[in-house]
């Protein structure tokens, strides 16, 4: 035993050994904290619901239509399905089983091409915690062993569907931008070409600086899409409200992390989703796997 440890041992020898009482008190405290948290979560959930409803309401003019996104067999399609309490629910359906994942937010289509002329198509959901599926429509023309990093930004908070996206390949070549469908409000601010704005990417950690001017702020969400062989990946970053992030990252709110969503792409079967949250240093803090129906 080191000299210090021996000293500490002697100095703290009188610490209470009434473990049973301490255990009871600790568990009681923990239960109280859980109860308080549940109440808080209920309030937060109500607030989130109101925000979602407001978002959907603001975006009602959008008509997303139905368009195949990914894969030849289990093609997900998106359609406006029904309205609940003033909010439009969009149904994200997989042909394999026709089950539906409902989202209360609309989406916008973004199309572009990389510097080599490969076309890319993106469908973005604008709103809280809604994902996106991004894929080149012609997989034969995918640039091999390259990833495409696509970053989108929202032009007006909660403006409804106004997104601009752009990206780069690993070799630094740029991708043209596209705009989401504008709704009401003033005309969109003209956007300079992404190729003029981008700079070498350090990875998703660098998304805050992707566009000149740092328009992202703190509320960003990254989504990674991989092909099974992991030679192709698409990263998308979307705005992400603080409330939704806190809800998702409840266990570690004090760490104030960014949330990264990794979506595993299986050809013709976009189902597996891995949510990965990481802190500002890129350390993985939380990981959860989900599978679409």
């Amino acid at each position: 035993m080191s000299d210090l440890r021996k000293l500490f041992d002697e100095a703290t020898a009188g610490f209470a050994a009434a473990e049973d009482d301490a255990l009871r008190r600790t568990i009681l405290r923990g239960r109280q904290r859980r109860a308080v948290k549940r109440i808080g979560a209920g309030v937060t959930g109500l607030a989130l619901t109101l925000v979602v409803v407001a978002l959907a309401w603001a975006a009602l003019p959008l008509d997303p239509g139905v368009r195949p996104l990914v894969g030849p067999t289990a093609t997900p399609t998106i359609s406006r399905d029904r309205e609940v309490a003033g909010a439009t629910l969009y149904c994200w359906t997989f042909q394999a089983d026709r089950r539906c994942i409902e989202r209360t937010t609309p989406f916008v289509d973004v199309a572009g091409g990389d510097a080599a002329g490969h076309p890319w198509e993106m469908r973005m959901f604008a709103g809280i915690f809604t994902g996106s599926v991004v894929r080149a429509p012609d997989s034969d023309r995918d640039p091999p062993n390259q990833s495409l990093l696509v970053v989108c930004r929202r032009w007006r908070p909660f403006g409804g569907g106004e997104w601009q996206c752009g990206g780069t390949l690993d070799d630094g070549s740029g991708m043209s931008t596209g705009l989401g469908e504008p709704t009401d409000g003033p005309p969109l601010e003209p956007a300079p070409p992404v190729s003029d704005q981008t700079r070498p990417l350090q990875g998703l950690e660098d998304t805050g600086g992707f566009f000149s001017g740092g328009v992202f702020g703190d509320d960003v969400m990254g989504i990674q899409l991989w092909t099974p062989d992991e030679t192709h990946r698409v990263d998308v970053t979307v705005d992400f409200t603080e409330e939704a992030r806190a809800e998702l990252f409840g266990p570690f709110p004090e760490l104030n992390p960014y949330l990264k969503l990794a979506v595993v792409l299986v050809p013709g079967d976009v189902r597996d989703v891995v949510y990965v949250a990481y802190d500002d240093d890129g350390n993985v803090l939380w990981r959860e796997h989900d599978r679409f129906p």
Binding site: L7, I27, D235, P251, L285
Partner: protein, 174 residues
Amino acid sequence: MLRRMAIDPVRTIDRADEQAPETFEEFFRRVYVRLGRGLLLLTGNRAEAEDLAQEALARAYERWERVRSMESPEGYVYRSAMNLNRKRLRRVAVGRRRAPAPDANDTIEAAETRADVLQLLVSLPRGQREALVLVEWLGLTADEAGAILRIDGGSVRGRIHRARVALRSRGELG
């Protein structure tokens, strides 16, 4: 693309651990007294140490399913305890939060009572006490302690060295 820190006791990982999951009660009995005594060294006050230890463990209980799957549940609790102690220090008045510094002529040998030793420890800067408790009492490596304190391991070693120098100058610590 993700950069991962080599050592982070709080990091959640996918465990390949086939052992039976530890219950909170087992975890508590394994950690409580050691943590409480460490906090007694930090605070110099037994009641506060008990309170902090129980609060830190209550937070672990609150989310036990997640905490116990961490690489180091103890690390999570230690970090919680350190943070709680810092909050406590911010709350109390500056004049209250430190016990009176021992007489400059005091020595460890002369400190015959536990209170004297604790008083001597409490007189150290908080950062040094935290490093001492985590490494010398709770048995973490400097890097592990650094992950909890959000400083690098070298800084932890520096703090411990300075603490030892201070204790030695006051108490002829070996």
